[in-house]
């Protein structure tokens, strides 16, 4: 089952990059019939929007009709301390909400990278923010992606969409949900008074998709 999962993810990725060849579109469709489970860890500083990014991703999963779980590291947390959340999106019922290895790690600060890099499954992916990470990941059995979301957020003068830029980058390499579903998820996740901000977030997601770069 594990190898199928990786194969599915790999083909997903391949199709996302090329979007051509009938043959591969065909195998994409056949493989999709098998079950998909994506185990994601999102980790960074408190205040970076780590937990809400996970929540929006989980909502997008619900919109796709998938099973989801969202498990934060809760406790006596503080602003500036580290925060992380495990999100699982699956076609089947999610068994354990905590896992010891991940398909994708999104790391937004150096301590998180050091902690979660060894826990990414071989063939999995790691996404890091170029500004926050001084020493990039070294593993060569995983796909390493870099997104300069912090710089982009600073350039546009809108630091609050930082997490949406990263989410866009993630959805580019692992298209587990469409942007439309994420927007639907935003409608559910945000209170009505904030709905006017959704177009700005959608734009950030699309911009994030352009920003992400493969590093190995």
């Amino acid at each position: 089952m594990k190898s199928e999962k990786f194969a599915t993810a790999a083909v997903y990725q391949w199709v996302a990059h090329t979007r051509s060849s009938k043959f591969f579109t065909f195998s994409f469709l056949t493989l999709q019939l098998r079950t998909m489970t994506e185990e994601i860890i999102i980790s960074g500083f408190g205040g970076q929007g780590v937990l809400s990014m996970g929540k929006i991703l989980a909502y997008a999963g619900i919109m796709e009709g998938k099973e989801v779980s969202w498990m934060p590291a809760y406790g006596p947390e503080q602003r500036g301390g580290t925060a992380n959340v495990t999100v699982i999106v699956s076609d089947d019922m999610v068994s354990s909400p905590i896992v010891s290895s991940y398909d994708t790690a999104i790391v937004l600060n150096q301590p998180s990278l050091e902690k979660f890099e060894p826990q990414v499954k071989p063939g999995g992916a790691i996404i890091y923010d170029g500004h926050s990470i001084i020493q990039p990941p070294k593993r060569d059995d995983i796909n390493v992606y870099r997104i300069d979301a912090m710089e982009e957020a600073a350039r546009t003068g809108n630091s609050k969409v930082f997490n949406m830029l990263v989410l866009g980058g993630y959805l580019k390499v692992r298209p587990i949900a469409t942007v439309e579903d994420v927007v639907k998820g935003l409608h559910k996740a945000l209170p009505e008074r904030h709905h006017k901000l959704i177009p700005m977030n959608e734009e950030a997601i699309r911009r994030g998709m352009e920003l992400i770069k493969k590093m190995n």
Partner: protein, 377 residues
Amino acid sequence: MDNQKDFVLLKGNEAIAKAAIRYGYDGFFGYPITPQSEVLETLAADKPWETTGMVVLQAESELASINMLYGAGCTGKLVFTSSSSPGIALMQEGLSYMAGNELPGVIVSVGRGGPGLGTIQPGQADYYQAVYGGGNGDYNTIVLAPNSVQEMCDCMGKAAELTFKWRMPVIVLSDGMIGQMMEKVELPPYRPRRTDEEIAKQCPWATNGIGLKNRKYNFMSTLEFDPAVMEERNQKMAAKYHQVEAEEVDYELYRVDDDTEYLIVAYGISSRISMKAVDLLRETGVKIGMLRPKTLWPFPNKIISQLSERIKSILCVEQCEGQMINDVRLATEGQATVFHSGRSGGMVSSPMEVVEDFKSMAREKMSNNWPKGYWMK
């Protein structure tokens, strides 16, 4: 109030609060404590007193909230409180009084690591507290053990039903992890709260003054000076408990079939972790399954006894140093060996740790199978 079904992403604690409003609860009395504070927070944010008329009150302490529950229970109202381990410890006296007076009431326990103030991280060290009770006297409470956010929601409806059916307090034993994690939930439709007439009809024993013209007044006390009368009361309650044990046992089997060789027994969050461990072990060809008690009292003794006739090694997974394991051992009636797996004090096992514990159990079982004195020869 719309009656359509909602699919929402909720924390376990939020699901409890929203479910209580929708199942027509009359009141909540509670005191905040991590990791269950979201129950009170969600109730305060949803303002059910404006819609269904449900009372939400932050008491000055856990002692006050359980005694408010006791008072409201006397009037036949459907009420609940929620707390975490040390808070539930404070409530034990009130719980014993409620059980003594055979009153309805729902207590949600969102467990954390202990003893004492312990940690605020998830734990399952309150199995004894919930199942055997920390209050005095010969009493039992029904204990439900949800393992997902959806079940947290459904348990509130089941508890509401059971607590009036059997006239005894019902404990929903959850843990910090289910309380804090978010999952997809389908909330139940709104059910109106019961009217005074309905309460009078359902609870003729209640001390609420309804219909006093047509009946004798009701009296409620746990104090009894005549031991013969007290014994009679205890015997009556015991007969009821035996009936509950016969009728209300609930469990779930996961990947248990005719050729299963090993069994995991786990409840709450441990059952979710074990489910993954079972999947991982099944992939490597180990014939293993899981039994999950959905009610901890009454405990599913019969099915464990039946299974242990052919399954000789059982791994009991719980996030404490071993409490439910003793009930599992009793239920096997000595037919199987039971091993423990789990972390404690707020740490939570990963599925891989359960797999490792299983492997060492399998090794130990093999060494136990050598004939005695084998190495001496």
